[in-house]
Subunit: 318 residues, 2 copies
Amino acid sequence: MNPQTKIITLDQIKKILPALDLLPAIEQGFAAYSAGKAVVPPVGELLLDKGDVHIKYGYLKEDEYYVIKIASGFYDNAALDLPSGNGLMLLFRQKTGELVSVLLDEAHLTDIRTAVAGAIAAKYLAPKKVQRIGIVGTGTQARLQLEYLRQIISARDVLVWGRGDEQLRHYQNDMEKQGFHVEITLDSAEILRTCNLVVTATPSKKPHLHARDLQPGTHITAVGSDTPLKQELDAEILKRADLVVVDSISQCLERGETHQAIKAKKITSGKLVELGDVISDKASGRTLDTQITIADLTGVAVQDIKIAEAVFNKALKS
Amino acid sequence: MNPQTKIITLDQIKKILPALDLLPAIEQGFAAYSAGKAVVPPVGELLLDKGDVHIKYGYLKEDEYYVIKIASGFYDNAALDLPSGNGLMLLFRQKTGELVSVLLDEAHLTDIRTAVAGAIAAKYLAPKKVQRIGIVGTGTQARLQLEYLRQIISARDVLVWGRGDEQLRHYQNDMEKQGFHVEITLDSAEILRTCNLVVTATPSKKPHLHARDLQPGTHITAVGSDTPLKQELDAEILKRADLVVVDSISQCLERGETHQAIKAKKITSGKLVELGDVISDKASGRTLDTQITIADLTGVAVQDIKIAEAVFNKALKS
């Protein structure tokens, strides 16, 4: 083996993660992306009978490495007692093309960097006083979003919506152990009616949340839709919003909630602001507590680049 | 680590390779590709200051795996005493997305599958009696092409062209040890004037070979150009050819010698035949010894798929 290639397993990654300060690293990634300092080609996609695979890759010009990330979703895996998500990240040296590290993360770092992006969105867009956090979904991402919000939001009251009572009870049980007070509901309308910070984290193709339930002063982060077909929010919600923030304008024209709302002619691309510009203060985040704000996150390679670099740099020292 | 992920190092790969019968495997890959049985999305590309990276990926519907291959060329690496080529291959299960194997081949398997494709082209297109093999270039691929031609062609007389006397002497010395009789030249015109099986294997952007030197009964395999800008053959050569065979029509419209000849309006896409169709007898290869034939090989993911599967399957047994 090339002595310079460091293989990092999922177990090692899980041990390293708690020691990392990922929020500033990924904020820096978003800011560099929006400032045009990142090279991020279009996402590669491979469609199979049982799932789909995305290849996200690129680099920041000021960095030492480029990153290629492979992440897949195979939705029949549960029946085989396997996780639906899978994949790995690869770190190469920008000057020579040498493979510096293979991060066998099995999609865990994609989950984490998505949760971190949710926390960043909340930092800039959530109302000052969050009464109750609303979570749509009960899967891995619905858990991680809440976990990472803890760093940013002091509220511990949570309402979670899911399709089945059993998953809801599991979610409630697990997240209460982490110090949240969790109530459950089978009526998704209750989320927007009673929570002013909402995160949606499902692979749905039909909206869970509707504009008729939307209250002033709400922020919604939508992380579930990352394809042209998935949709968690009624397009009317984006029309009613005072501010629609996206991780990547070019990508959100093709994928996610924004894509759906533009297709439905509810908004135009002129309404979109990039998260990186909010972070670097080139654009405003929330300015009034009564505003309705949306963050549509489809996932960009700069997040993968930043988390892969952070894990690798820490692994080198340990 | 996921116990199912097998890491295979370059040393292990080099030990496995001699035991593999790659020609039939890769022939089958080309045939499946041309029969529409392969899913091969467009090549992903990442351009950096010092080099470029290609991501080739796909699968054969009848196979068990999909493959993602990363290969890079960093042309200043020689000054750092590093090889210019680098990369790896990844094998995933089609049904679940599980990462089955990481082949840390450092681009060696890309070199080998390219050499195997050259041998396959010679099998179907070289004239019955090869007097002398002409090689354009003195690098790794120029060596491997000759090495793999040995399986197909009985001629051992070789003329090699290169830009420098030192590289030519090295090539001569190394290939004579392998049983070839090698003469050297600094005049590239001599290649087409005295050899009837020619392989070009350089990253040139200006043609080495010209139609004025072309003799009846010659076959030329061009493997060096795999981008829209590289070119080893005068476009007039493709016009004069009786048969132009390509590994992938769609890819060769965008890259390689064919792309150049079409851009120069010397040929149209109607002249192109796919190697896979020649292999499976849906199209004719060489039918007369006096014909001029060209094989333009830009490299397709099916070659990577087939070589990665062959190495992995053998590694499982050893």
